[in-house]
């Protein structure tokens, strides 16, 4: 059964929040549109005036998600906040992204998907591929999915960047069965033989 976000989704809107490297959200939308059956739009950047966590150079992901959910009206489709800044909820050192199960909005940070964060040479393609995987993971939560025990599944928990890379970018068959059609991705091309 498709309810909540699943029923409402007709398009996905990517909203740049705070400091975001130029062109990254557009690149992300292009990659995302190849993975979902939804129109992917990039909205104009907004200053949501989200609070920072005291004594930490991080945006409060919980507060950011609340602000996004307030903007995600019933007829607006899904709203994905994309920020280049590091985010966290106060009880954790950081999060890659945040979503409420069955909600209409989520947030992802590009800070820790960027190899330069770990002192490595820049690799925009790798950064964007990781970011797409994070957006799809959070969208899985919007579609009411929980974390998956299959470590090769996109819905498995990743607490560090190595796990983000090793869990891959696909949903396991069990999670795929529970996904709404628009998140399963385009049907594969039939064999031409």
């Amino acid at each position: 059964m498709e309810g909540g976000a699943a029923r409402l989704a007709e398009a996905v809107h990517l909203l740049p929040v705070g400091s975001v490297p130029p062109g990254t959200v557009e690149a992300l939308a292009a990659r995302l549109s190849r993975r979902v059956e939804l129109a992917c739009h990039v909205l104009s950047p907004r200053d949501l005036k989200v609070r920072r966590i005291p004594n930490r150079d991080q945006l409060d992901a919980g507060a950011l998600l609340e602000a996004l959910e307030a903007r995600a009206t019933a007829d607006a489709g899904l709203l994905v906040g994309v920020t280049g800044e590091d985010i966290a909820i106060p009880v954790f050192t950081f999060v890659f992204g945040l979503a409420r199960q069955g909600g209409r909005a989520c947030v992802v940070s590009l800070a820790r998907t960027d190899p330069t964060f770990y002192g490595l040479p820049p690799d925009p393609a790798l950064r964007d591929e990781r970011a797409v995987a994070e957006v799809l993971h959070e969208m899985g939560h919007l579609a009411t999915l929980e974390h998956c025990p299959d470590r090769g599944c996109l819905m498995s928990f990743a607490g560090n960047i190595e796990r983000v890379d090793t869990r891959g970018s696909r949903f396991c068959p069990s999670c795929a069965d529970r996904l709404p059609h628009w998140l399963r991705g385009p049907a594969p091309m039939p064999d031409l033989v």
């Binding site: 106060p90 009880v91 954790f92 974390h147 928990f157 560090n160």
Partner: protein, 459 residues
């Protein structure tokens, strides 16, 4: 959802206790995404109410909360549910508090903010820990059934008294001295005490003190360091260390030399051993059960056994009467041995003929239960059908004059008695000499004098 709601395997029932809403909500959402069942409490009082009302696997507990202090809540939660894995959370890393929490029995201690990976690993480890603990309990239950020693059998009031005493003493950790003639089953009683004691999942180590020369006994009991003596190439842990958490059974304690008696006394008093050639005392946790067929009180009086050690070993005294003083136990034991040997030799169920039972009842059993067991084993080996006949039993049993004094002369009586004890002990010279209360050389002289010969078939 209530705390008692069934959850799928692999998921945990988690309780989050923190006065800060943001922490409760963030952690609850986080764990729910992992499929765990989560409840929250904003105070220690609320946490106690929830834990008393339902079962949780794990609790995340903030140390600093208004009202009841986190460490106090921890103690109360642990008292309400000893199985609960409690993780303490704090915003300030304080080694002192962490040590206090861990000493208090906390499963772990984490400092806010948490690394998501660390938290995930902690919960995974806790789930594995709980699963291993559950498996351990399950295995111990099957071990209780599979490895339980045979019950102590006996219809006589004397044996019933022993059974009752074993049941009482098993629950305690007191030292036990078991006395009785050779072959009465002192080790069987020691094993029954160990098997019913809280130490049953740890080893029971048996040391036959009479079979080892002084130097070797010391090394066996206390261990030795490499180079302690010629041939000591590597460190060797002694029996006290090997029995860690379990029971040391010192058989034939009456044979221990005065030097080893002193060392044993020290180990019993201080609960530490120092390996031969070593200088570092090693703490050891054990229970002592000792046994002897000698009159230790007489040995104390004559000065060959230390009185202080005697009282240390003899906190509880279990005496096993000889089989001749409890004839009603003979058929009960004989039937048990018959069933055991018939099964182990893949024979059909067997029974005794009335004549065989009469012969067993009339015999005085100088070798006690061990002799009875040997006689029944022989009967199962030589018997050709399902009924054990009197002629299947050893000759000494069927030809024993009922209650009579036996042959006429003293020499004839001695010859018959020595032969009977040798047969009963399976011609084990050491054991027979001990039953006869003579040394081995004397026994060899008697064998030569009376031209006694070991039977070919060992019967």
């Amino acid at each position: 959802m209530s705390a008692t709601t069934a959850v799928p395997p692999g998921t945990l029932r988690i309780l989050i206790v923190d006065d800060e809403t943001i922490v409760r909500d963030s952690l609850a959402a986080w764990f729910r995404q992992d499929g765990h069942h989560v409840d929250v409490a904003e105070s220690g009082k609320e946490a106690l109410r929830l834990v008393s009302a339902g079962r949780y696997d794990m609790a995340f507990l903030d140390i600093k909360m208004p009202g009841m202090d986190g460490l106090e809540v921890q103690s109360r939660l642990a008292a309400a549910d000893p199985e609960l894995s409690i993780v303490l959370m704090t915003a300030y890393a304080s080694v002192e508090t962490a040590v206090k929490a861990m000493k208090n029995g906390a499963y772990d201690y984490i400092v806010k903010p948490f690394d998501p990976d660390d938290l995930s690993m902690l919960v995974k480890r806790a789930a594995e820990h709980r699963s291993l603990r559950a498996e351990n309990i399950r295995l111990k239950k099957s071990l209780d059934t599979a490895a339980a020693p045979p019950p102590l059998l006996g219809a006589s009031p004397a044996m019933q008294h022993v059974v009752d005493l074993v049941a009482t003493v098993s629950a305690s950790d007191s030292t036990v001295l078991i006395t009785g003639e050779s072959g009465t089953g002192k080790e069987v009683v020691a094993r029954a005490i160990h098997a019913a004691s809280p130490r049953r999942y740890n080893p029971m180590v048996v040391v036959n003190c009479g079979a080892l020369p002084e130097g070797i006994l010391e090394s066996e009991l206390f261990g030795h360091e490499a180079g302690a003596f010629t041939g000591a190439r590597a460190r060797h842990k002694g029996k006290f260390e090997a029995a860690e958490g379990g029971t040391v059974f010192l058989d034939e304690i009456g044979e221990v030399s005065p030097k080893v008696q002193v060392e044993l006394l020290r180990v019993l008093e201080e609960k530490v051993v120092t390996r031969l050639g070593g200088t570092t005392p090693v703490p050891v946790d054990f229970r002592i059960i000792s046994a002897t067929n000698r009159d230790l009180q007489a040995a104390v009086k004559e000065g060959s056994f230390r009185e202080d050690l005697y009282w240390r070993l003899n906190v509880v005294h279990v005496h096993i009467p000889p089989l001749r003083e409890r004839p009603e136990d003979v058929p009960v034991l004989a039937e048990q041995f018959l069933a055991k040997f018939a099964q182990s030799m893949s024979r059909r169920p067997m029974r005794f003929s009335p004549e065989a039972l009469d012969a067993l009842a009339a015999y005085p059993w100088p070798g006690n239960v061990r002799e009875l067991q040997n006689a029944v084993e022989r009967a199962v080996v030589v018997g050709r059908n399902e009924v054990v006949r009197a002629e299947d039993l050893p000759l000494r049993i069927t030809q024993a004059p009922a209650g009579g004094p036996g042959p006429g002369s003293l020499a004839e009586a001695e010859r018959a008695h020595v032969l009977s004890v040798l047969d009963a002990s399976g011609w084990n010279i050491t054991r027979a000499a001990r039953v006869l209360d003579v040394d081995r050389v004397t026994l060899y002289n008697k064998i030569r004098k009376y031209e006694l010969k070991k039977p070919e078939n060992g019967a």
